[in-house]
């Protein structure tokens, strides 16, 4: 168990910089998920921690020791890759035990530990098979076993569930979290799947285009997204975001409609983005005068809930209602509690804290 400190880390390929000065600290025993769209630099960051990618600038310390110049094997990290990266010519047992073999662990002890790990990850009868004879889920287990047997200080996961089908993905997700709860090893998990991120993380790092958008618990990130990007990326379906203009200190307008928001000290004419979660928009029978009315054109019934898709103030929006409700296509008056409304600066995309004083846009 070790903490990880990332100080001013940059990564450039030639003249193109992909990671722009990250400062992060992961506590010992913490399960950190790095979430971001593809190409945001999340895998690059993980590979820099692992030592598979050089660090252009800044430094990374694991357990208080700067590892910039250390080889991957000297860093005490174990990694699980997206495509499993098993050794195709070795059996499951040889795959799992390879690290011990390289480390010169005597054969008897090696076999004992392979059997032990094989049992703990449910690969008991499969130790003599080759990777080609295993299913995707079994291969991923072997990859996990290979990481576990080394008893590393840090687990690194590079989108390990992306190649699995939906059912298996949920199952492995639960197993990974249980494994962490049992062993308490510091884990860094990279994914673009926000459900994985929300369910696994003690702490979430949202990355976009090589910069940190937000760091916080899943709860914080979900309920107080730090930027328009985070709002639109986290959540399934994500938050609705509509461009708007301030009409008064606690009123915004968009598309001729009005919405009351908590007092933000808005200046008349300031350009903003208004966000609300699909579950926070409540259909009402009677529309308030000038209140928001969405034009619903598609209904998705998911069994436990219904998603009403349509347009509001020039943006695509989703309204989530309980199962059994009967709203169909057509105009749908909405009621949105002021406390459920998030405001973002139209230009910077940053979250506006209530009562912040904003200058009117020119």
């Amino acid at each position: 168990m070790s903490d990880i400190a990332i100080r001013g880390v940059r990564k450039s390929y030639g003249r193109i910089e992909t990671v722009h000065g990250l400062d992060l600290a992961f506590g010992a025993g913490e399960f950190v998920v790095i979430l971001g769209p593809s190409g945001c630099g999340k895998s690059t960051l993980l590979r820099m921690i692992a030592g598979l990618e050089s660090i252009t600038a800044g430094e990374i310390a694991i357990g208080g020791r700067v590892v910039n110049r250390l080889e991957p094997r000297e860093r005490g990290c174990a990694m699980v890759f997206q495509n499993y990266a098993l050794y195709p010519h070795m059996t499951v047992a040889e795959n799992i035990g390879y690290a011990l073999k390289v480390a010169g662990v005597p054969k008897a002890e090696r076999l004992r530990r392979i059997a032990e790990v094989g049992r703990s990850i449910g690969l008991d009868g499969l130790l003599d098979r080759r990777p080609a004879q295993l299913s995707g889920g079994q291969r991923q287990r072997v990859a996990m076993g290979r990481a576990i047997i080394r008893e590393p200080k840090v687990f690194l996961f590079d989108e390990p569930l992306s190649n699995l089908d939906a059912t298996l993905r949920v199952q492995m997700r639960i197993e990974i979290r249980r494994l962490h709860d049992r062993q308490g090893v510091t884990s860094v998990f990279v994914t673009h799947d926000q459900t994985e991120a929300m369910t696994l993380a003690d702490r979430l790092v949202v990355l976009n285009a090589g910069r940190v958008e937000q760091v916080g618990t899943p709860e914080e990130v979900y309920h107080r997204p730090a930027s328009r990007f985070v709002a639109g990326f986290v959540g399934s379906p994500p938050m609705n975001v509509v461009d708007a203009t301030a009409a008064g200190p606690d009123t915004v307008t968009f598309g001729g409609l009005q919405l009351t928001v908590p007092p933000h000290g808005l200046e008349r004419g300031a350009r903003l983005a208004v966000g609300f979660r699909p579950e926070d928009a409540v259909p009402t029978a009677q529309a308030a005068p000038d209140g928001p009315v969405a034009a619903i054109d598609l209904v998705e019934d998911l069994g436990a809930l219904r998603l009403l898709r349509g347009r509001l103030g020039g943006a695509d929006v989703v309204v989530q209602t309980a199962a059994g409700t009967r709203h169909g296509r057509g105009p749908l008056p909405l009621q949105i509690a002021p406390s459920a409304i998030h405001l973002f600066d139209a230009e910077t995309g940053l979250r506006l804290a209530p009562r912040a004083v904003r200058a009117a846009a020119a």
Partner: protein, 294 residues
Amino acid sequence: MQKRATFRNLWLASAFIAPQLLLVFVFFYWPTAQAAYWAVTLEPAFGGGNQFVGLENFRAVFADANYWASVGASLLFAVGCTAVAVGAALVLALFADRGLRGHRLYRFTFFLPYAVPAAAVGLTFRFIFSPDAGLLAGINHVVPGLWNPALDGNDAFVLVLLGQSWKMIGYNFVFLLAALQNLPRTTIEAAAMDGAGVLRRMWDLQVPLLTPTLFFLLMVNITDSFVDSFALIDVTTHGGPARATMLMVYKIYLDGFESKDYSLAAAQSMVLMALIIGLTVIQFRVVERRVHYR
């Protein structure tokens, strides 16, 4: 409808494969059949009718001690060249794959020798290994008479072996490097995470995963050393000194075109062909079991 379409496809298919079939037939099956015919007949040196003699030509070939010597030399040559050419190419490819500075230039220059005709290789090696004027002449200054391929059979054998290997290294290198770069990068990285150093990763992962390519190169190199070494030997040693470099293919040439004994040469060709087929079968049966296909 179905029938008609099939009929038209057949003609089209035939038209497409005809040029290739024609080439294979004219330059492979026809000469092979001709050689097989000559091998069981007696061909008069100055023309005229052939006389059927059954296996008499083969009996004459196998009764000749010189022939068995050439078989031995050919086998030694094949094993030696293949070991040197594949081994050296493997080492070069493993290190070029590390992405050393200028590896594109290496790749280009390493492949060049394969584009050089064997006769030109031979000529070059004659100069380089010339005992009195070449690069190795220095050895003779220190230990006089140590290196002289014109007099010493072993020296001559080493000379042609190096020439043939040098020609094949680049070819092998290109195949091995391409295969190395096709290996999944994360597998190698996983081994790095597992604590294996560079050399350990080469030995435990890259070489086993290269076995399909190595197996292919093994067959190509062995076959090439049997059939393609003619020009090299003709330019450097002429099979000498004292028959030390008299490989099977060169003996066929000497017997057929110098001694004008077509029948004897044809019989030897048949034996050589059978030997290569046999070796290939053995390799598929024995060696391929150790190949890891992904």
